[in-house]
């Protein structure tokens, strides 16, 4: 060793290598290059072509209108402002119910992991209700709430709350106990360990739960609005059925898919921003 090595002098010089990944790449389109984006575009075009051909063969535009008619309908809904209006109605319901689901679900999951008695009681209830699809509750919810705001919010909440509970629960069960020991040997107390070790450890899990919750919430809201709301995206699909406007109906249906995809992409971005150390935000990353 070099004699008289001072504290400031690196013992071994290291070359700085830029290992940083671009945080934004691949979030919105989910692929890492223009090449892949083109592939997606091509397969989309192919699907539309196939759809168009099948439509011609079927010969009944009321059953299967051509994709171009659907696109045209979508465009007219867009310029009329109706598309945006109904989308905002649904998104607002989603925001309220989803936030509520997070506020309830995460603490419940933590409590289940932390206290055996909570796991045995609340945990049992959660696991026995969870297999019942949110859709099954819609008829009774109509009886309870009638048609309006409460019903869709209730159904979304129901769909979204379980992934929050389960992933918050799993995060604490999975926690690396050695990290807590290390924190203790470094002089951290209980509160500091909870805030700087336990919570950050659970973030990727909770965010993964949040993604699953969002997907389920989005599916639930459409189902709920089909029957139990006076407006919104689900209602719009149903409305177009009643007035026998198949092209507009399909335009709404595909629009639901587009918005759902965009919401998921936003959440993926949030995962990568809030938890850059985790892999959960990448497309194809682990999903629990």
């Amino acid at each position: 060793m070099r004699p008289g090595n001072s504290d400031q002098e690196p013992v071994v010089a290291l070359q700085a290598v830029d290992l940083k990944r671009s945080r934004w790449a691949g979030v919105f389109i989910g692929f890492d290059g223009v090449h892949r984006a083109l592939t997606v575009l091509r397969s989309l075009l192919a699907a539309m072509l196939l759809w168009w051909l099948v439509g011609i063969l079927a010969g009944n535009p009321l059953l299967l209108p051509s994709p171009f008619t659907v696109l045209d309908n979508w465009w007219r809904l867009l310029v009329s402002g109706q598309l945006l209006e109904e989308t905002l109605v649904s998104l607002q319901r989603l925001a309220i119910a989803y936030t509520f689901a997070a506020i309830v679900g995460i603490p419940v999951g933590f409590a289940m992991a932390n206290w055996r008695i909570v796991d045995l009681t609340v945990g049992f209830v959660v696991n026995s209700i969870r297999p019942i699809s949110g859709i099954a509750w819609i008829p009774i919810a109509i009886v309870w709430f009638g048609v309006g705001e409460e019903l869709p919010i209730f159904i979304i909440f129901y769909g979204a709350v379980f992934p929050f509970i389960l992933n918050a629960h799993a995060s604490l069960l999975d926690i690396d106990k050695r990290l807590i020991l290390v924190a203790r040997t470094l002089g951290a107390g209980r509160v500091r360990i909870f805030l700087t070790v336990v919570l950050p450890f659970s973030i990727p899990y909770v965010l993964t739960g949040a993604r699953i919750a969002l997907g389920l919430a989005w599916m639930s809201i459409i189902a709920a609005e089909l029957l139990g709301a006076p407006n919104g995206l689900g209602f719009s699909i149903q409305y177009m059925r009643l007035v026998q406007q198949t092209p507009a109906m399909l335009a709404w249906i595909f629009w639901v898919g587009v918005v759902g995809y965009a919401l998921d992409a936003l959440l993926r971005l949030a995962v990568q921003t809030l938890a850059p150390w985790s892999e959960a935000g990448r497309l194809g990353g682990k999903a629990r």
């Binding site: 090595n5 504290d7 400031q8 002098e9 924190a183 040997t185 470094l186």
Partner: protein
């Protein structure tokens, strides 16, 4: 033995430590440690070697205050160790860096936990980062670092609390051979090999590699298993600095004599 005298000079005192596992429902099944006693004077680099499962980690954890003996006690500067203490720096085989903190965040964790003022914490981490050669990597996350760099970061994190005793549990077992020998030399430098004995840290270093123990330590405690206990206490007086010591006859002979001591124990371990 004049225990009176050594007891007053010793920084670490381990007295009659026993550790039993399986005390719960059934009768005690496993004696992990039996009657372990020794003292470590200030500034000594003391290695512990032994076959796997002989209780090395258990012993170290007890001294670190994160595990408790079934009987007996460990004390630091005459006061009993009852829990984790910033004066006792601990490092495990897996680096256990906090994945959500940058290199700087990891290194500042200890000083911040102890409530040091922000400016002081910044100074401290800067010094430690330079000391272990991680300058330029302050804002990296652990998963962006090589194994050797992660280990340096864990070392700096421990050193940032300026502990009196360094407790290390096979800290180099997970890195490749080349990085390992570099890190061994760095460790000796940080310990204070090139400084006078009075300026050195006190180190308790667990390893299962005998040559590593001989290369690093002033003294080697050899442990046996079933029950876990100390079977030999061997001084290791090879000339320092040890950089060239690996190829000397003394080095090889000492390594082999310890290997002979452990041979039966190790053979026993592989049969389990």
């Amino acid at each position: 033995m004049t225990t009176e005298n050594t007891a007053t000079e010793a920084l670490l005192t381990i007295e009659n430590i026993q550790k039993l596992y399986g005390e719960g429902g059934r009768a005690a099944e496993l004696v992990a440690l039996r009657d372990v006693s020794f003292t470590v004077p200030e500034g000594q680099f003391c290695a512990i070697v032994g076959p796997s499962g002989c209780g090395k980690s258990t012993l170290l954890n007890i001294i670190a205050g994160i595990d408790f003996p079934s009987s007996g006690l460990a004390s630091l500067s005459g006061s009993r160790i009852l829990g984790p203490d910033p004066r006792l720096g601990v490092m495990f085989q897996q680096y256990h860096l906090f994945p959500w903190m940058t290199v700087r965040g990891n290194i500042e964790f200890g000083p911040r936990s102890r409530g040091l003022p922000r400016a002081k914490v910044g100074d401290l981490s800067k010094r430690q980062i330079a000391r272990v050669g991680l300058s330029g990597f302050e804002e990296r996350y652990p998963h962006e670092l090589s194994g050797g760099m992660q280990q340096r970061c864990a070392l700096a994190r421990m050193l940032a609390n300026d502990p009196v005793v360094l407790l290390m549990d096979e800290p180099l077992a997970a890195v490749d051979a080349q990085t390992r020998s570099i890190l061994q030399e760095e460790l000796l430098e940080i310990w204070g090999e090139s400084r006078p004995a009075s300026e050195r840290k006190t180190v308790l270093f667990v390893t299962h590699a005998i040559d590593e123990a001989v290369f690093l330590a002033d003294r080697i405690l050899v442990m046996g298993r079933r029950p876990g206990r100390i079977i030999a206490d061997i001084p290791c007086t090879l000339k320092r600095p040890r950089r060239e010591a690996r190829r000397t006859r003394d080095f090889v002979e000492l390594t082999e004599s310890i290997w002979d001591l452990l041979h039966d124990q190790a053979a026993d371990a592989t049969r389990q």
